[in-house]
């Protein structure tokens, strides 16, 4: 009775340069209909993981299946076909600055479908209505506030009703109101459109409020996983430091450096 997972990753490793791995032995499984958070500090490899799921980067070892396709074996045409079933919200929206909000949302419909213009218009307005911005359809990206631009980008990402939504730091740089609006929209769209969502983020509170399950990453590894409640109670030193935002812990406050006294002496000797 259980449906196959939307994303299944086994023992995946990746590095941009040989000898400098960014991800080691990643294992994760994302069930249909869930909203899953991938959390960790900046630079821990979570965006890289998202890019592997989107078929952008090829893992050096391990297995990754997304929407029933095994990544790594796909040619460009099949990756493009796979991406038509995915939507991605970029960190700062990445709206096309030379097009209005409406044209941004209608972009994929023009590119990938033969729908008549009237139908594209109705669909694009429907998507804009879903994010509450039908009235802003004619505005250019430069005329939108940060939160509005993010919502238009969200409407654009769901334009072709993707089965899997990828969110790359969707809350970065938003004011508290826009923050809450985007968070609620992510959950609502996921549930009403029957999507599955992956949110890469480091915003603990907003993220914990809407996700069903969380993978915690540190230095390219998954160090903990569980529901938000179980992670809040976790005694794992990294999870504790991250969830409670403590400045010092397994992740040190100081960047590795030689002894402070030695550094000062060297400065004095040099001067």
């Amino acid at each position: 009775m259980s449906r196959p997972p939307i994303v299944e990753i086994e023992d995946l490793s990746f590095g941009y340069e040989p000898g400098r791995p960014v991800l080691h032995g990643i294992r994760l499984r994302i069930e249909p209909g869930t909203v899953v958070g991938v959390m960790g500090q900046s630079g821990c490899g979570k965006t890289t993981l998202l890019r592997i799921i989107a078929g952008w980067l090829k893992a050096q070892s391990g297995r990754a299946r997304v929407l029933g396709e095994t990544l790594g074996a796909l040619d460009e045409a099949r990756i493009f076909a796979l991406r038509r079933r995915m939507g991605m919200l970029f960190q700062f929206g990445a709206l096309f600055t030379d097009m209005s909000a409406y044209d941004n949302v209608a972009f994929q419909m023009h590119e990938h479908t033969d729908l008549p213009p009237e139908m594209i218009r109705d669909l694009a307005l429907l998507k804009l209505e879903a994010v509450g911005l039908r009235g802003a359809a004619h505005l250019m990206p430069a005329e939108l506030s940060g939160g509005m631009a993010r919502r238009v980008a969200l409407a654009r990402a769901i334009a072709l009703d993707p089965r899997l939504m990828l969110y790359d730091e969707p809350f970065t740089g938003l004011d508290p109101i826009s923050f809450g609006v985007i968070a609620r929209l992510i959950r609502r769209l996921n549930d009403s459109l029957g999507q599955t969502s992956i949110i890469v983020s480091h915003d603990v509170e907003e993220c914990f409020g809407i996700v069903d399950y969380v993978y915690m990453m540190s230095a390219g590894r998954i160090v903990a996983e569980g529901t938000p409640e179980s992670l809040r109670r976790s005694e794992h030193p990294f999870v504790h430091q991250f969830v409670h935002g403590e400045p010092d812990g397994p992740i040190p406050f100081h960047y590795p450096a030689p002894g402070y006294a030695a550094d000062l002496e060297a400065g004095a000797a040099g001067g």
Binding site: M88, F90, F92, F96, T97, F107, Q108
Partner: protein, 272 residues
């Protein structure tokens, strides 16, 4: 000891030279592959020609002012300088020939090409580079749309189509400038000015060769501009240095290509 240091220094120098040479060659190879990919994916630019028309507007129509004004001044200067030289030999009626041939064969394509590289080439590089820096190119790939077909190819073809038209307008404006100075200001005989020009300028030898030059320059500038934009580091400094590279590389490319093309076109023609 000193010998060893010298050897080490030499080796380092050689390594750096080798490294620089290989990275240049690698980049040239990358640019060529990019060019081939762009040509293969140019279907969209022609099937949905309105995308290319939009780029012709940005690259061509918006460059009109600088091209027309520069053409006028270059022609006026040619009129003054040409008259000054020709009247020493008592052949100031040949001013029309001098102005027209200089413009149609050389100055039209070359100066219009240089202006086009600084006005439109830099804009194309900056636009594509900024689209990359703000993840618009990545967003397009994520939407399963090939940015080379959708963004790069229309800009390339827009540039290639605009350039010969701009060069032609530059030459026409220049000839008009030469006429204003030579005939209206200095008083060269109007009939001689036009009739000698008409008799001496050959369609195949001069005009067609000039057009060929401007097409080649258009391809070079547009290729360099789109490639530099697409290959730019996605940061403010990256886009700024890519824009500079576009202007410098395309200007040098225009001048070098001009020499090669002139050598092929006109030596053969004169010899025969």
């Amino acid at each position: 000891m000193a010998e060893r240091a010298l050897l080490a220094g030499l080796r380092d120098g050689l390594e750096r030279l080798g490294g620089a040479a290989t990275s240049r060659i690698w980049r040239l190879g990358f640019a060529s592959r990019f060019f081939a990919h762009m040509l293969l994916h140019s279907g969209t630019a022609f099937r949905r020609f309105h995308l290319t028309v939009r780029e012709i507007y940005f690259a061509g129509v918006l460059s009109l002012i600088i091209i027309l004004v520069s053409g006028l001044f270059v022609g006026m200067v040619l009129g003054l300088q040409g008259y000054h030289t020709l009247q020493r030999y008592g052949s100031s009626e040949a001013l029309g020939i001098l102005v027209a041939l200089s413009l149609v064969r050389e100055l039209g394509p070359v100066v219009a090409g240089l202006l086009f590289a600084s006005r439109a080439g830099s804009a194309i590089t900056a636009e594509i580079g900024l689209m990359k820096a703000t993840e618009q190119i990545a967003a397009m790939e994520m939407m399963a749309v090939d940015p080379i077909a959708r963004v790069v190819a229309p800009r390339f073809w827009g540039g290639v189509i605009s350039m010969p038209l701009l060069a032609a307008l530059f030459s026409a404006m220049g000839i008009f400038g030469g006429y204003l100075v030579g005939v209206k200001l200095i008083g060269v005989d109007e009939g001689a000015f036009w009739s000698q020009m008409q008799a001496a300028v050959d369609v195949r030898e001069d005009i067609v060769n000039g057009i060929i030059k401007s097409v080649v320059f258009g391809i070079a500038v547009a290729w360099i501009a789109v490639f530099e934009g697409y290959d730019a580091q996605p940061t403010a400094e990256g886009v700024s240095s890519a824009t500079t590279r576009t202007v410098v590389t395309s200007s040098l490319a225009i001048l070098a290509l001009d020499f090669v093309l002139t050598a092929f076109m006109f030596t053969g023609g004169n010899g025969g």
